[in-house]
């Protein structure tokens, strides 16, 4: 009886009150597995790792045992200003991953958009074939494709063989630690090599990714462009033809139609792709673990792999957890930054009239999409919605 009175205001709001009896209990029952699993393996771990990142736990026994001490920000300061190996490794990993992001995110976005536009032609024959071909690398496991890459980019492998046909002696890809913007120069000018940031000289910061890391950049573009192509295709199919037709009537050529009409309408999808790309790129782990393990000369070290290495190989659990949290912060900051940059700005009324489109454009699966497309869209729909509440 007491429950009925407590729920009375809520029930009055909803129409079918009688039918809803017992829903609270089953609601909790239905969500119990989710609550337990996600709580135990997502929420609790994060809290536990937060504690470990502030402690001197060495991996033996429970992190909550009496002999584990709270050491404040020591783990973090060792990484950010310690001056030792930890700082240098972290700086190197950040440098490697930053260059990876700088190269991969724009290239994969541009390539996937290009593929989507090419494949999305109405009159194209064999559309299904091309779509499958471009999507194929995306469904392959990261481990398998890394192994394939190691083989292709071997010093006597297929890529170097191809390069030799056009008279280029290919580098020893995965064993070449030289930065691609150093162009083989061993030492830079003094003012660059003398100054350091996070234990890494300016010369190294500016040197770009190593040749080995560049092979991983190519791998990332190869494997992700298919997935993002599907997102763009779905968005393109969702665009009404009328705006493009109107532009056509106004005499806009194909190039203008793409840049001034189609692309602005793809903004929500562009945002999704850039965000997913950015988040994914800061999390490179599988490829490094399977492929190079940070070699040559630590130039393929990434924060994610460094965190794993610090904890599991060197038993520096506090430091490993601290790296993971710093990585988390980096990802959050970059996502927010990007959101701010790509945010819809207030446009003048005159321009507004030009770009007046319904806000719903570009979200939701299209009926013509294949199963995989639907899967990919469904997967990203929540992210998209989350990002733009």
């Amino acid at each position: 009886m007491s429950t009925t009175t407590r729920q009375a205001p809520a029930l009055r709001l909803r129409k079918k009150s009688g039918i809803r009896r017992g829903e609270a209990a089953s609601g909790w029952l239905f969500t119990a597995p989710m609550l337990i699993l996600l709580g135990l393996f997502l929420v609790v771990p994060v809290l536990m790792a937060l504690w470990v990142s502030f402690s001197d736990w060495s991996g033996r026994g429970s992190p909550f045992a009496g002999n584990v001490n709270f050491i404040g920000l020591k783990n973090y300061s060792a990484l950010l200003s310690g001056g030792g190996l930890a700082e240098q490794d972290f700086g190197t990993a950040l440098k490697n991953n930053a260059w990876y992001v700088v190269l991969v995110v724009p290239l994969q976005t541009a390539l996937s958009l290009l593929l989507a536009v090419l494949v999305n032609r109405q009159i194209l024959k064999g559309r299904g074939f091309f779509r499958t071909a471009f999507y194929f690398p995306s469904v392959t496991s990261s481990v398998a494709i890394t192994v394939l890459w190691l083989f292709l980019f071997n010093s006597t492998g297929a890529v170097n063989k191809l390069l030799s046909y056009i008279g280029i002696t290919g580098p020893n890809w995965f064993n070449d630690p030289g930065g691609i913007f150093h162009f083989g120069a061993a030492n830079g000018p003094g003012f660059l090599t003398a100054n350091t940031a996070l234990g890494v000289s300016w010369w190294d910061w500016l040197g770009g990714p190593s040749v080995a890391m560049f092979a991983f950049v190519l791998l990332a573009i190869f494997t992700t462009s298919g997935t993002f192509m599907l997102l763009f295709i779905a968005a393109l199919q969702n665009l009404g033809g009328d705006v493009t037709e109107a532009a056509m009537m106004d005499g806009a050529n194909g190039w203008q139609r793409f840049w001034r009409v189609t692309l602005p309408q793809l903004r929500p999808t562009l945002f999704t792709v850039l965000t997913l790309g950015l988040i994914g790129c800061w999390q490179v782990f599988d490829q490094i673990y399977t492929g190079t393990k940070g070699a040559p000369g630590k130039t393929t070290l990434t924060p994610a792999y460094l965190s794993y290495q610090a904890a599991f190989n060197n038993q520096e659990w506090g430091q490993g957890a601290a790296i993971a949290f710093l990585l988390f912060i980096i990802i959050v900051v970059f996502t927010l930054l990007q959101r701010w940059i790509l945010a819809e700005r207030k446009v003048s009324k005159r321009r507004m009239r030009l770009y007046d489109i319904p806000p719903s454009a570009g979200s939701g699966p299209s009926s013509g999409a294949s199963g995989q497309t639907a899967a990919a869209i469904a997967l990203t729909a929540p992210l998209q919605r989350k990002d733009r509440p």
Binding site: S26, T31, L37, V119, G320
Partner: protein
């Protein structure tokens, strides 16, 4: 009169031919570009398959060839007969099947509750789900190990499977789908006296087939390709999956067998 009509007709005919000529040209360029890109995307896999049937020296001397000079299945023999491949395959299969089944059931259960059942804390729960989804998986590597170790399921099937049994993104997909099903169907069943679980199991779930297929595809692919979770939850060779077993040996020998399904080396433990 006829003379007036005739030139106009020929002109329009000419113009059409000109246009279609240009169209043909642009279309063949488009097809050429697409075919070249498609070759770039598929060729690595073809090389990989071809190389797995090559002999070692042949693979080294002719990395681009699609037809092996001497056809051999030695790499596959080595893989199936002289390696732990059966164990790796078995482990991958067990984990994938159980995880897929678990996700289909738990995701749809939770998704249905969040979409349809009215109870206190539902909105809060949903907000929590979204928050949880935004945590990058790599950040959870160490934390997950800590918990798995703490509750004593490290290095066991339980440790490999249970943490993967549900995922926030899957719940989200199911919730969105259930919201698109008309409520009237459920009300009908309710009036006929079906309980909440009965409505869910016999009425709503059969209608959610497209979403269930999505979940099956995503979880199958996800758990079959999973690597980082198995790295932090297992260490014994008997629990190695295909992804963990892939070789760290010299590239040429690694690629002798297709994709990840390779290596005669014992797994790192």
């Amino acid at each position: 009169m006829s003379t007036v009509v005739k030139p106009a007709a020929t002109r329009s005919f000419h113009r059409r031919e000109q246009l279609s000529g240009r169209q043909i040209a642009s279309r063949s360029v488009l097809y050429a570009v697409l075919v070249v890109i498609a070759i770039i995307y598929i060729f690595p896999f073809l090389i990989d398959i071809a190389t797995s049937f090559k002999t070692e020296p042949d693979a080294a001397s002719d990395p681009l060839g699609l037809i092996p000079a001497t056809f051999t299945t030695a790499a596959y023999q080595k893989l199936f007969l002289n390696s732990d491949f059966p164990i790796w395959f078995k482990n991958s299969a067990i984990v994938t099947i159980v995880v897929t089944l678990g996700r289909v059931f738990f995701n749809s259960l939770a998704g249905y509750a969040l979409a349809r059942l009215h109870f206190r804390g539902r909105n809060l729960m949903f907000a929590g789900l979204i928050a949880v989804m935004s945590v990058p998986s790599v950040v959870l590597l160490i934390p997950k190990f800590l918990v798995i170790n703490q509750i004593g399921i490290y290095d066991s099937y339980a440790g490999m499977i249970i943490p993967l049994l549900t995922d926030a993104a899957g719940i989200f997909i199911m919730k969105n789908f259930f919201e698109s099903i008309p409520v009237s169907v459920e009300e009908q069943a309710r009036i006929d006296g079906a309980g909440t679980f009965r409505v869910f199991w016999s009425v709503v779930l059969p209608m959610a087939r497209p979403a269930l297929v999505t979940i099956i595809i995503l979880s199958f692919q996800g758990s079959w390709n999973e690597l980082s979770h198995f790295i932090v939850s297992t260490q014994s060779p008997g629990l190695t999956t295909l992804t963990r077993a892939s070789p760290r040996s010299p590239p040429v020998s690694s690629a002798r067998v297709r994709s990840i399904r390779s290596s005669s080396r014992p797994p790192r433990s």
